[in-house]
Each structure stands twice: as structure tokens, then as C-alpha cells.
Amino acid sequence: MSARLARGLRASLFWGPVALILVYMTIPAFVVLMTSISPSELLEFPPSGFSFRWYERAFSYPDFQNAFVNGLIVTAFASSLSLLIGSAFAYLVDRYVFAGRAALEAVLASPLIIPHFTTGFGFLLLGADLGLGQSYAVVIATHVVLTLPFVSRTVYVSLRNLDPALERAATNLGASPFEVLRRVTLPLLRPGMVGGWLLAAILSLTEFTASLYVTAQRTQTLPVAMYTYVREYTDPTIAAISALLIIFTTALMLLANRYLGLRRILAIDAH
């Protein structure tokens, strides 16, 4: 009995703090959700009523409408380009030996280390000197470079886990290298590529710091427009957008976990 008690005590000594830490991690999201449906401009707990007025305002605010469309354009191009380049790069690193490979790897992984404001500032200067200004091309290039390490890592992990016997078998049965790539390798890589593309899209959609540098009023993305709004107004309109983004990403995570396995995308599990 006392042994069981001791074990129970020990378990609660562990799980109690873990639960508290998880509360700390999730409470901001809950506060955002609560604020977004509150009718009042001020924060109240519990909310005095229920209203969608902040959602209406968020949807009808022209800056957000433009920024949302801009963001979708940038994300669509950036994540797709990132997928193409990142997959090609992962394949390159996995399959080929060539001079300068280590240098190329170091450069393309470096956005993980380089502060986003440095990358953004660099692309701002580059865009200015190339006469491109703060155009879509510059924004998209910045997002491609920033998301590339995530795509190539995810695809690389899938490549490593791929059974080389399958490709050899196809070759032995007479498939040309192109056919092997198209009918064996690519289909086997699809989960990793979808995961990488998803990661790139989310990161691009929510990227803020570098975007602040490389976007202008005309090309600004949603996070930049939200930042501008927060600095000018204090009402909970941003809570409504934030709530939608939180719900959207949570749903996406649930789906990704269900169909692709979050642990695999994040490369947590031991192989």
C-alpha cells in the first residue's frame, strides 16, 4: 500500500508540473479565443457576452483583405518553389558527390542560424540595388530561402528511409534512370514532400520579421498588416484574425498528425 502511495505521489509530482507547464504554453491561445468573441473592447473574464463583431471588422478591413491575398500569392509561389528546390537539393545531397557540396549544404542550411532580420535586411538591400524594390519577386525569394532548410530536411529524411532495393529492382527490370525517378523514387517520397511543402507553406504564411523588411504597403503580407494594426489600435480585431490562425494551424496539425505522422515530419522518433 505504501509503495503504491509512493508511486502515486511520485507520478503526481511529475505530472502536476507537466500539466502546469502545458497550461502556460496554451493559455495565450485560450485568451485570444476568448477575447475574439467578447463584445467589449476591453478584456473581460469571463466574457460578458458573445459577439462576432471583431470577426466582421477583421474581414471588412481593406488592409487585411489585401494583405491576405498578398500572403496567399507569396505563400503559393514560395512554398512551391521551396518544394522544388528543396527536394532537388535533398536528392543532390543524398545521391551525388561533387566538389563544393559541403559549402552548398552550409549555405542552404544557414537561414536556420541567420537572424530573420539579417536575411530580410540583406534582401531589402539586394532588391534595392537590383532595382526590384520591395516587389513580389523579392518577397518570394526571401521566403524561399527561409523555408528551404525545412523542406530539404524533411525530404532528406524520407530519402534516407527509402529502401534502395526498390530502385535497384526497377533498374534491373529495365527502367531508365528517369523512369526510376518518376515511377519509384518520387511516389515513395510523396509523404515527405507533402510534409515539407506544408511546413514551408505555414512558415511562409506566418513569417513576419524578414517580411517586415522586404514588403512595402503594396506587397505586405498578413503578419505585417497585423503588426501595423497592433501598433495603431488596441481593439480585439487582431484577436479575431489570431483566433482564426490558431484554429487553422491546430486543425492542420491534427490532420498532419493523422495522415503523415507529426513525429515523422519533425523527425523525433528513433529509426
Binding site: Y24, A29, L43, L104, V107, L125, P177, L203, E207
Partner: protein
Amino acid sequence: MRPRPFFLCFFLPSLAAALLLVAALGEIAQYAFRVFTPGSLEVGGFTLDNFARLARPIYLSVLGDTLLISLATSLFTLLLSYPVAYAMVRAKSDFLRSLIMLLAVTPLFTGEIVRTYAWILVLGSNGFVNTVLKSAGLIGAPLGLLYTRFGVIVALVQFSMPVMIIILATTLAHVDRNCERAAANLGAGPAQVFRHVTLPLTLPGVVSGTVVIFAWTMSAFSTPQLIGGGKVLMISNLVYLQGLSSFNFPFAAVLSLLALAVAMGSLGSIRPFVSRLELKAAIN
């Protein structure tokens, strides 16, 4: 030598992306040595003055604050993340493991602005914490949590935890459970097993996670910008002020290079350390 079909198809896109990034960083390096002309975006000839300006007390104190905040953030992040990562990897039920992972990792993907704004709602003078404390009768006047280093660190720790948890969970998942079982069989209690077996085996993850978070916090922008509200300045905020408010591109470039050097230096410093630890863990 294996045949190399399609080498160029795979090589050229990667090369193009790498060259773009190198060009962007080259621009920063180039601007750092140019003379700033107030009121103009055009820069003048070659100079080292921009670097000398770093030694002014105001910039040194911002650098000191940045290091202090990054250090505190990385240590608190480690302390809070370890138990969560442990629970995420070791919980017996599948459902619980998935739940913890979703709760722990999702904040990473909502974006800086959403996360920062959320903390403004939590920490503000009419915010969640103050409202709850006031209605519980614990405080009379609202606590000033926003615009303080404390508030900035509280928010930064929450942002950093998903990354730390992923790194620690990866390391924990690779720990050979037989080592723990052997220790337990030899009479070690759960606390001893953890202290003498599990913790040492996960030390590489602990060290690399802490340094990664340190470097990542060094480059945090929106949190000190919005939660610090101009009262807490980090290097990132100075770059923004110099670059996009004063249009002093040369000095902003110097500050960017400094941030880059600190980030790369701190991450570079763990490379030999981590491999040595891994080696040590493998031998013992």
C-alpha cells in the same frame, strides 16, 4: 564511378538559391563599410566608422541586455521543456503522447505576431493575469508586466519551448532503455536512474537545445518590439530603428553582422562540445 544522370537538374536550382542568399549577405557586408549620408539612401565611400560606433555605451548596453535576455530565456526554456519532452516520449498512452505533442508543438506554427499579440492580452494592465488576480482580490492595482524584461522573457520562453521540446524529445527517443533498466536492476531508484543514466545520455540534446534557443532568442524581433514596447531594446530592435526608421543602412548593416556573428559563434561553439559529449556517452 556511378553514372550521374540529371546532375545539373538537381544542382542548378540549389546553386541559384545559395547564390541569392550569398548575394543578400554580401550586400550587408558591403554596406557595413560605407559612409552614411543623413537624409539619403545613397551611401558614400569606404569607412570603418560604423564599426567604431558600436563601442558607444548605449549600444553596448543594448548588446548586454540582448545577451542577458537570451541567456535567461534559454535556461528557463530548458528547465520547463525537459519535463514536457520526457512526458511526450515516455507517456504510456498513445493518446497522451499525441496530445502533449500537439499542445507543445502547435504554438510553433501560429507565427510570431499571433503569439506576441496573445501575450499582450495575457500580460497587459487589463490583461488576463491582472484581471484574474484582481478579481481574486490578490492585488489592488494592476501589475506592470508589459514593457518589462520579465514580460519579454515570459513570452520568449513560451515561443522557444516547442523547438527545445522537439530537440530534447529527439534525444530522449534515442536513449537506450536497457541502460535505465540495468541501473534499476542494480538497485537505483527512479531519481538515481534519471540523474545518473537518463540525464547524462541526453546531455548532447540539452547543450545543443540550450545554445540553439540562445541563438534564436538573440534574433527575436517582434517580442521585444511589441512586449518591450521600446523600453526593452535588443539588437533586432536597433537594426529596425537604424535601418527602417533612420534609414542608416550602413550602421544597421554593422548591427546585423554583429547579430550574425554572435549567433554563428554560439552555435559554432557547441559543435566540438556536442560531438565530444556524444563520444563520452557512447564510451561510458
